[in-house]
Symmetry: none
Subunit: 158 residues, 2 copies
Amino acid sequence: MPNNISDIIEQYLKRILEESDVGVVEIQRSELAELFNCVPSQINYVISTRFTTDHGYVVESKRGGGGYIRIREIKLDPEHTLLTLLRNWPSELSQATSEALIERLMRESWLTKREAVMLENMLRREVVNVDLPLRDRLRSRLLYTAVQVIATYDNEDH
Amino acid sequence: MPNNISDIIEQYLKRILEESDVGVVEIQRSELAELFNCVPSQINYVISTRFTTDHGYVVESKRGGGGYIRIREIKLDPEHTLLTLLRNWPSELSQATSEALIERLMRESWLTKREAVMLENMLRREVVNVDLPLRDRLRSRLLYTAVQVIATYDNEDH
DNA sequence: TTGACTTTGACTTATCTTGACCATATTATA
DNA sequence: TATAATATGGTCAAGATAAGTCAAAGTCAA
């Protein structure tokens, strides 16, 4: 069915991702581009259109010698709790709302008690003390990033 | 996974450091360079990017005949580590410095791996995306708060 | 023929590698 | 003992490597 390079690269990456049973794939942009005879930035296009958090992936990368692009799958529970949460993430978060969210995540065992306390304190307005509405946007990005991490990294302590 | 010589040399040195249970490793620059087939100054690069005081290491060296480079891992007094750290907290923190600090706290078991990854990601400039120098001040406050929590909240790991 | 999606490439940023030249300590020699 | 030779390590800037951004151009279906 795939009739363009982007679709082909997408399928390729998803196949590799399935074969790696840890849900992580690491590639070199230029290498992959060469494999599919396209310009390197095409890889960025594929990633930014098909491997977003909406799609259930988190991407990291490093430039320079020995650089890479790493794609991780978001871990799914039956309810797709974290994926759903990330998909509908609000662009602004008040302190009260973020605290409620953190409490909920802790109740559902996504966060340890200590992580929850840490996040709650970090997101207090005295700490994130920039002017509104920037503050609420910043708080949103911070917690979003934290949730992204718990969605992709296993916590060996629990 | 390390795809470049610098990472490999870093891992090598850290392994040697662990094996030597006094937390000290002494090398000869040219010898090490030869071992990894690189120019001697590459060793300096590795040290200056991965074994700084922020990372929790002290490096001494001597030139001339019988010269050496000695890397010492500095473990702070377990009783007062975090309090001392908090007392001398810098008002601004770059991304590189905060990453070094987080890595160090993890090495000394003050942070779990997941907490460390979470904090590192939250403190990235793309996330804390306000203009400098505000960004570095904000990063400082955020990490300060996190460390404060792990200092007061003695979790099950300690 | 318009609009969404894809492809391309010029330019930017980040990180690592290399080498020429510099500084300092030890050892040999006058 | 002074000085020269040798043996190390240090600095820094240029070059190499690799990913990111963005906008212009191309494609294709409705």
